[in-house]
Subunit: 424 residues, 2 copies
């Protein structure tokens, strides 16, 4: 008999079916046993007046007839006739799967990750994350971007970055890339012009914050023939609208489980663009305090301000001072053609126009105390004809976190890596 | 004025336009200069009777009127009126961009990767590769699979593998994952049932072959509720058909440049399934030689045989002996429920059903001299209810290589990593 998924049951009232999945919950009400079975599509209730001795999380294949029942999940239940045990679970489950994960601490959730990922509420996080990845690819393909896959093992710290993880590479020292910056620029300059990459990025920083992890997925784009950061912000604004629309359509239930909503696609139009100086002034006006930079507190204050004044908790901050941005950022007097995007109190994107003229590139190296030698082949990009260009990167885990309102970015990471955690 | 792309020119005959791109080639025919300009969409010819002193690869923005010209690429040319130089290239281009890369050795192509990637024929490789990634995501999403992103930094060699790259992780030793095997299985067992991942995999093997690289992109799937490797082969057969259909539709020009074709989607139906024993027998019958295993020579012979006998150079080999497969492979007597897919003489996929019963898992560990301790949290997957399941992985660079008939897998890798090469 073909397998029926939980969500298909409501369409097959009266039919004899076979269902399969995990025993999510068992309730014995004096002679009648209700078994909630979990499969990839959702939950279905099985009812029997016989015995049901299996521990939760056991996997079974069950046969019976579907009957309507308003009180059962999905509005239908299976009157159980027989079942086979595909895998019996041990009874000593280290963390519960069928309870709200809020009752567990984050450490318990991560220490027992193989089991906590079975929790439907936790799975919702990763269904939303999958939609973010899909929407990113769809949107940028529709704009003429080509997907690339660049190397994550690099011979040197080509962005002039510190805090790189080092590794032994057949006897030489190599590093894990902190971003695909160099490679994105190569591909723009190659003539592909518009590229995107979905890949891991690594930061060997000893952070202990709710917003940092040491390995994350970076949603990167880079595009040619732009003369400032403005077209990048416009592109990202349109992507965010597409993302919110897609998540609202495809993950309504997952949002519901967390009591979360996404801004309307139309409201993305209203997200303000303010300069770094304006950002500090707004922070001052809102809090009475001076900020030397757009720090985490300022990010929250600015998003609250944007929501109140513009109807969306999202704000672009541009015109950062040069000393606050990497050497390759395109200068604009003492400022730069760069921006961050803040969403619900968190920086989710950094981007900007990059230097493309070789002579300006040489000046920037000198100013930042760097040499062409240490950058190796990176220099060739600029020496042999590179159009004006720029790009940005969105942190996948951060945007997932903020869509759902999760307290810690590690909740939005399947197998997070932090200072102490390198398994499972 | 809005920019017109090269491929749009044919639709705008008689109009004044602005085009932009790289100076790909300059021909001076006694008073008339023909400039071929390259942009992300293709090539367009500019014609002028003035001077054109710029080196190739310089980036310009040019204005003029479009005229029909059958002899020009795309059937139209721009009568040049004026242009701006966006970036002048140095005249000492280390490798030519506008010639067939066959005239260069592989080392020159890789040593000057920033420049060789500008070659349109080389770019075609990566446009095809981008389509492979896209088609993989589209196909498996359509089959109810959820995309995951698992960690590439792991605390131990959970597959019992050797040849792992090691790294320093905040004072402890960690490794780069050789595959997402453990994590795919976790997510199947979690209840997601069907997952796929597109991500890097690492092998610290000292190979020097045209088919190995040390960092590659693995297209991975894993699915629950299957009792043998047969549904996996069927799933892959359908994916291959979808892939060939998509590449033929979207990359006709890229295939053309390489004189390549893909098998018809329908012919994928005919790809035979033979056992490991049959594979050796066919090799013997074809060559008169005995093979102890399906080695690279046998892979070529078997694909030639499949093409001659079944009309497609693609063959599934299943029922591998147990000692040739990893410990987690589901046994079937002395054989296993596992398979490889060979395409055009190269193994592009390894897959199979995995052990899901805890007691069988414990037996397998004992047989392979392993312990639960060394596998850590991996064991929990099986202890707490894991359905029958299996999966496979396709090497992205290998499939790209074989679609185009490239001699070396490094040609199908943007920034390949081998024993000696860790940059650019």
């Amino acid at each position: 008999m073909d397998r029926t998924l939980a969500q298909e049951a409501i369409g097959r009232i009266g039919e004899a079916v076979e269902v399969a999945g995990w025993v999510h919950r068992v309730r014995n009400l004096g002679g009648v046993v209700f078994v909630i079975l979990r499969d990839r599509s959702g939950m279905i209730q099985l009812v029997t007046d016989g015995e049901f001795p299996l521990p939760v999380e056991s996997v079974i294949q069950a046969r019976g007839t579907i009957a309507a029942n308003d009180k059962a999940p999905g509005g239908a239940e299976v009157r159980l006739e027989s079942y086979d045990v595909l895998a019996e679970a041990a009874p000593d489950l280290p963390v519960p799967v069928n309870q709200d994960p809020a009752s567990l601490g984050l450490d318990a959730i991560l220490d027992h990750r193989m089991i906590s990922l079975r929790n439907p509420k936790i799975q919702s996080i990763f269904r939303i994350q999958a939609t973010c990845v899909k929407a990113f690819g769809e949107f940028f393909r529709s704009q003429g971007f080509t997907e690339i896959k660049s190397s994550k093992i690099i011979g040197g710290g080509s962005e002039g970055g510190t805090n790189l993880f080092s590794m032994d590479y057949f006897g030489q020292t190599a590093y894990l890339a902190q971003s695909p910056q160099l490679y994105k620029q190569t591909m723009v300059a190659s003539g592909l012009e518009r590229v995107f990459e979905i890949g891991h990025a690594y930061r060997a920083e000893k952070h202990e914050t709710p917003r940092h992890i040491n390995e994350y997925v970076s949603l990167d784009i880079e595009m040619g023939f732009i003369e400032s950061e403005k077209p990048l912000m416009e592109m990202e604004r349109r992507f965010m609208a597409y993302l919110f629309e897609t998540v609202a359509q495809e993950n309504a239930q997952d949002l519901d489980v967390w009591g979360a909503t996404v801004p309307s696609p139309e409201s993305c139009e209203n997200a303000p663009i303010i300069s770094h100086d304006e950002a500090k002034a707004i922070f001052k006006a809102e809090t009475g305090k001076r900020a030397l930079d757009v720090n985490p507190e300022a990010e929250r204050v600015l998003c609250d301000w944007a929501e109140r004044e513009h109807g969306i908790p999202m704000v672009f901050v541009n015109a950062f001072p040069r000393r606050k941005r990497p050497f390759y950022t395109y200068p604009d007097g003492q400022k730069t053609m760069s921006f961050d995007l803040l969403f619900r109190g968190l920086e989710i994107t950094t981007g900007g126009r990059r230097i493309n003229e070789y002579s300006m590139f040489q000046d920037a190296l000198a100013k930042f105390g760097m040499t062409e030698q240490e950058l190796g082949a990176y220099v060739d990009i600029f020496k042999y004809g590179c159009p004006p260009h720029g790009g940005f990167a969105i942190g996948l885990e951060r945007i997932t976190q903020k869509i759902l309102g999760l307290a810690n970015i590690k909740e939005a990471t399947l197998f997070p890596r932090d200072r102490k955690r390198v398994s499972p």
